[in-house]
Symmetry: C2
Subunit: 369 residues, 2 copies
DNA sequence: CTGTTAGCGCGTTCAC
DNA sequence: GTGAACGCGCTAACAG
């Protein structure tokens, strides 16, 4: 978004001038706080307080105000409130992609958590571009949000400074860190990768490889953990590590597996940085007539709904995406709530190994923070 | 969202009182239009006009104002603008589900289309509940949006009235109708279902069934078209039509296929109302050792990315979800733009039969509006 | 616990 | 083509 596009207001048209009356949804004789106050026999500010800090208003006044609100169908004007209080009820949500299936569960958690709240979500898609993420953070912050939720912990230096000085709670998600900007909820990508390495090793695979695409910081951490896990037993072999900066997809999983076999034909297992890639790898393995899991093992990541239903069911790592979405909003609400002085600022979740049919099953369930 | 929750303002906390100075993102000495005007040697209103209706300001003034905007890093205050103009730049987006993979592509189209626009998206998830959809429409309309995008054409009577009287453009999506509320973009669900019926019949299947879940109005239209297509050749058999109101998923596809075979073991093909169901059906067919497509055909709907990579590749109907998302925003922008008097109010898109390996391939590509 | 006063930053209206 | 005055609906700060 360029600076000028920001001020290039599109609301110029004169679309259906005039005012509607149906259901009191209109601007001209909209019900205002004044109307409510008058109906309740108090001043506007008292009505305002009754709605925002009920404890600070006498019970009698409060009751009359609430009933006036109901009767008149009063709905607060968010714009006026934002202008007067220098704070909107918007929570900015910065995501690297809208295509990724992981995103849907995360988003569902977020939306479930804002239900019955006056919070509102505004999504920014930065398409895995750190500079775009930075500029979106700047844009969002200009809107005086109630909170900001970002993906991961690898913002640019400038972005990180803005987040640290942001006049609202900030939540980093999907990863852990010892130096969070503010709040944080996630699981260790690195430990998850290590867990996968152990699983494959325990299952008896000795020439394990890797398939990775889009290589965002979290995928990289996962992969670093995986390779470190292999290294401790002398099984890390760079020839078997196939990655591409291109987007991740099922089709890409098939291609990368072909590349892997071209580079190292004796590879006997593969960790795919996500389930899309893993599904593509499994399909490709089937096309090649490989015996999965006996002679070739496949492990995915995220454990999407479909994974457990594939033939054979895909071994994967279940990640708490939905919980992270919910938790991120909870952290913001807690920060906004003056009563909750001692709410945690950090939530560590678990990623769980789901050993299934695409790896020799060793019946161990493992967990990574 | 209850009436009271609407006025239950969560912005009560006193989170980090004080003002930040980094990057001019702050409230106290925020750069305002006045600052810009002063720097440019004009009045505030002229600066305001220069940004919104550049043509109405002299070239000299305009140039000075723009350069002041750049130099000062002015960012308009959305709340103040909304309050003064009684119109926000928010476009409300009502979706029935956040889980559905179809949603991701649609959303991506929407977000791509608002890029370099000052429009902003606000998503409402009504979870396939018409009454919730109605209340969300009411809530959104109270916010004076720039536009509203809804899914399908089957709103409640009250919702429909609100939409017709809405003081902003409204776009119905994903389906066509002869009585649109206002703008509309989509393809015919009914014709798509008919197309699938023809495809299966042409491929030589004679005992075709159906798997459906979640049964929202669009799925129902699809299915009605399918059954009508079967009926014309005397092949519609209610025993083979298996549906459930439960959510759609890959796992559900497997279950429903089992149900279908329990009810009508000689079924030789199945239309699945979406690709998740179809993937589950294919996996289940594999588990049962059915020969697909020779003795059993499977056709999905939507043509997700993974479908073409399955083994065998899934026959499906490609739906223009991304285009619908983009087009919905385009319709709204056109409606908002006073210059575009004769922009279309209706866009008919095509759904395309993608015949692949799960049905006997008859090499005919078909298209449904 | 309640009210008064004074804006928040911008756009509309109507002059010039 | 430009500007002055006013108000959008609400809330912060203070006084009572």
């Amino acid at each position: 978004m360029t600076a000028l596009s920001l001020v290039n207001n599109p609301i110029g048209g004169d679309w259906r001038r005039g005012w509607i009356v149906y259901d009191n949804i209109m601007a001209r004789n909209r019900i205002t706080l004044d109307d409510v106050a008058r109906a309740a026999g108090v001043s506007a500010i008292t009505a305002s307080r009754a709605l925002r800090q009920p404890a600070k208003v006498s019970e009698r006044a409060r009751a009359r105000i609430f009933s006036a609100v109901q009767k008149l169908g009063y709905v607060p004007d968010a714009a006026a409130s934002a202008l007067a209080s220098t704070r909107t009820s918007v929570v900015g949500l910065l995501v690297p992609s809208l295509t990724n299936a992981v995103f849907a569960d995360f988003l569902r958690g977020v939306y479930d958590a804002i239900e019955d709240t006056s919070l509102t979500i505004q999504i920014g898609n930065f398409r895995y571009s750190p500079s775009k993420e930075e500029s979106l953070i700047r844009t969002f912050l200009h809107q005086r949000p109630s909170g900001l939720i970002v993906a991961g912990v690898d913002q640019t230096e400038a972005a990180r400074r803005m987040l640290m000085e942001a006049p609202c709670p900030v939540v980093q998600t999907m990863e852990l860190s010892d130096q969070p900007v503010d709040r944080i909820i996630g699981f260790s990508q690195y430990a998850s990768g290590e867990m996968v390495a152990r699983h494959l090793i325990d299952a008896g695979y000795r020439r394990p490889g890797l398939l990775g695409a889009r290589m965002d910081p979290r995928a990289q951490a996962r992969i670093a953990g995986y390779r470190s896990g292999l290294r401790t037993v002398g099984l890390d072999d760079a020839r078997r590590m196939i990655t591409t900066p291109q987007p991740s997809s099922v089709g890409m999983g098939g291609q990368l597996l072909a590349d892997l076999f071209a580079a190292a034909p004796d590879t006997d297992a593969v960790f795919c940085a996500n389930d899309d890639l893993a599904a593509g790898a499994l399909f490709e393995a089937q096309r090649r007539g490989l015996r999965v899991p006996e002679s070739f093992g496949i492990c995915g990541f995220n454990d999407l709904e479909m994974s457990r239903h594939m033939v054979p069911p895909l071994t994967s790592v279940a990640t708490p995406r939905y919980e992270i979405g919910r938790g991120a909003i909870d952290l913001i609400r807690a920060a906004l709530d003056p009563l909750s002085g001692e709410m945690p600022k950090r939530i560590e979740l678990d990623a769980v190994m789901s050993a299934r049919g695409t790896t020799r099953n060793n019946k161990n369930e493992r967990t990574a923070r």
